[in-house]
Amino acid sequence: MRDTILGIAFVIMGLLIVVTTHDYPPAASLAADPALFPRAIGAGLGALGVLIAVTSLRARRSEERNRSAVPDATAEQSEVGPGPDAADGMSQTIWRVAPFVAAAAVYVWVAFSSGLGYATSTFLFLTVLMIWLSPKRNIASYVSSAALSGAISAALYVTFVFALSVPIPPGILP
């Protein structure tokens, strides 16, 4: 099932690539055509997608046939890869990962584009994340997380701004 979805996704990606190149300006020769390479890639991706989907459907059909032909055989063992609870595991993963990615994206925006500045937002992000991921829930662990975060963000700020002269937004810091 997963491979069928994957195959279809590749076909869609290939189509999207080819469609996007449609309004590219016409070229005088094959060599000057900016769409030549992307279209070839899109076509290749689509073809691979079809192959992957077909192979997976065929494998499933032959598996079903085998199962109905030999009813009491090692049917349960023939499943390769993640079993039926894989979908369940995936949704759990999404529930854990999505807030993390969102928090990281917010952090990147706040650190570099808001007025708060890099060091301050890094300190806040690190503290929140350490407390969130930590198994301990007590004042002592909160304080140590904050202290560690402060030290790390200060060290990073000093390294990048003064030693490497990377223009990192200072924000509310002097």
Binding site: R2, D3, L6, F10, M13, I17, T21, Y24, P25, A27, S29, L30, A31, A32, P34, F37, P38, I41, G42, G44, L45, L48, G49, L51, I52, T55, G81, M90, Q92, T93, R96, V97, F100, V101, A104, A105, Y107, V108, A111, F112, S113, Y118, T122, F125, L126, L129, M130, W132, L133, S134, P135, L148, I152, S153, L156, F160, L164, V166, P167, I168
Partner: protein
């Protein structure tokens, strides 16, 4: 003419390099380089580029010696986070983590670091020897490359996909095509038309390679860890009693190191193909030649040794081309050429005649830097490995913050950081669908090289496909490279058919 100067190549620079200040500068450079390399996002290029201004006041020998130290240190240092956290410090260490990280997962991080350090040292020394002995020969072959040969080389590089594709060649190829596609993003160099930029000015110069690599490998790995159940204790505690590899292990690895060093030097000497490609090609070669290909990717020291020996040996090859032709073998040597120019020295064949002592000093500096790399690496490997013993709730936030600031520092734009996060999610999805990630990166590196050279060949033949094909067929070098590519591509299928070897040679981390 070049050979005539080679006799003094070993002695002329002795007095220049073996004085306390120069030695100290090489040591400082190597240490700085290791730190740069170990920070995800900070690459060898960046380290060398940032330190060029510092060398203004030095003599040309001291300047180049220190920069060489940084270059080599960074090539080695990048392997450390790759082994410990599957987070390549520099793109060149992408393949190190494939076997290095599983070793860490087993608690053998210290051993993996030891193998990495020793292989880097031996590979680097091998590269330096080649620089001294074979410089003129290698450079003349690489110098005759035209666009047809470059295209062929890129195609040869892509055939490595068939070795790193894992269970399904189809999924590996698809991953490679996605990489090729990402490589087309940005201004088309032939027509000047912006492709797939969707109005984003940040994409005009293309998708930032480092952001993609850190995202797909490093961030995706962090996300996987976050996604896994219970935020429990740290990973397996690391055994650190013995970092120096045993003689029997070194004996087992000796041919791996020799082979990979040779590959690294050759790839490094080809202009434009740097340490990243050297690492990938050597790893692919190793899976091909390994006695136990089915174990590659599960934590085999061979994999670590192949990649690390090769990307350090690459420096010798790249500098061979740089010194004898004045053409950069990779992006770091391009900066080194710039640094030499700042000091009034022009790299190229004439340098061997005009200033053999400088050429000799560069060769000796490379050797000295490798010795420091070995000393620092073995002395500090235990400290490095302890990083992994940090609790996860501290390690994960710190690593993500490092990845963010490193990616930001490249271009001082947050666009690349968002792109890195997006590629992190892509990497996670790819892992969930069991699509191998390494082919994507390979496609991204080789795609632009392949496209521009194919279209250049087409332009030379007035866009005529038939004439272009003929121009490929009439180049003996192209034919040889194509034949090797075909052989490499067909070999796994042939072996599968004859049942000699199992199909699975590379397992993406579960």
């Amino acid at each position: 003419m070049v050979f005539a100067a080679a006799g003094s190549l070993y002695t002329d620079g002795l007095s220049l390099v073996f004085n306390p200040l120069t030695i100290l500068l090489i040591a400082a450079g190597t240490l700085l380089g290791i730190m740069f390399g170990a920070m995800p996002g900070l690459t060898a290029n960046m380290g060398v580029a940032l330190l060029v201004p510092v060398t203004y006041s030095m003599s040309v020998t001291q300047a180049i010696a220190m920069l060489i130290g940084i270059y080599l240190g960074a090539l080695y240092g990048g392997g450390i986070p790759s082994i410990l956290m599957n987070l390549p410090g520099t793109p060149a260490d992408m393949m190190t983590g494939i076997d290095g990280y599983p070793m860490t997962k087993r608690g053998e991080g210290g051993k993996a670091l030891g193998v990495s350090t020793t292989s880097s040292f031996l590979g680097g020394i091998g590269g330096a020897l080649v620089l001294a002995v074979m410089a003129p020969m290698i450079a003349s072959v690489a110098g005759s490359f035209r666009s047809q040969e470059y295209f062929a080389i890129a195609l040869l590089g892509l055939t490595v996909i068939s070795y790193i594709a894992g269970k399904s060649l189809l999924r590996g190829l698809a991953s490679g095509l996605i990489g090729l596609f990402i490589g087309t993003i940005g201004i088309d160099l032939v027509s000047g038309y912006p492709r797939f930029t969707f109005g984003q000015a940040d994409l005009l110069s293309g998708a930032e390679f480092v952001a993609v690599v850190i995202g797909v490998f490093g961030v995706a790995e962090l996300l996987e860890q976050v996604g896994k159940a219970r935020h429990g204790k740290a990973v397996i505690p690391q055994k650190l009693d013995r970092v120096l590899p045993s003689w029997s292990l070194l004996n087992r690895l000796k041919w791996v190191i020799v082979r990979s060093s040779v590959t690294g030097v050759v790839v490094g000497a080809v202009p434009g193909a740097g340490a990243t490609i050297a690492g990938v090609v050597s790893y692919g070669q190793q899976t091909r030649l390994s006695k136990h290909p089915e174990r590659m990717g599960t934590g085999e020291p061979e994999g670590v040794a192949a990649c690390e020996a090769s990307n350090n040996a690459c420096a010798g090859g790249a500098m061979t081309t740089m010194l004898s032709l004045g053409i950069p073998g990779d992006s770091v040597t391009a900066i080194l050429i710039g640094a030499l120019t700042l000091h009034g020295v022009t790299a190229g064949p004439l340098l061997f005649e005009e200033d053999p002592s400088l050429v000799s000093a560069i060769f000796l500096s490379l050797v000295v830097a490798n010795v420091f790399l070995l000393i620092f690496g073995l002395a500090a490997a235990k400290r490095f490995a302890q990083v992994v013993n940090l609790p996860r709730h501290i390690l994960i936030p710190v690593v993500i913050v490092l990845a963010v600031v490193g990616t930001y520092a490249l271009r001082a734009t947050s666009f690349n950081v968002f792109m890195m996060l997006a590629f992190g999610v892509l990497g996670l999805v790819m892992a969930a669908f069991r699509v191998p990630k390494a082919p994507l990166v390979l496609g991204l590196i080789l795609g632009p090289l392949m496209e521009i050279n194919l279209r250049r060949s087409l332009t030379l033949n007035d866009g005529d496909l038939g004439a272009t094909a003929l121009s490929f067929a009439s180049s003996p070098l192209c034919l040889v490279i194509f034949a090797i590519a075909l052989l490499l591509l067909a070999a796994p299928a042939l072996q599968r058919a004859t049942g000699r070897r199992p199909a699975v040679v590379y397992k993406e981390e579960e």
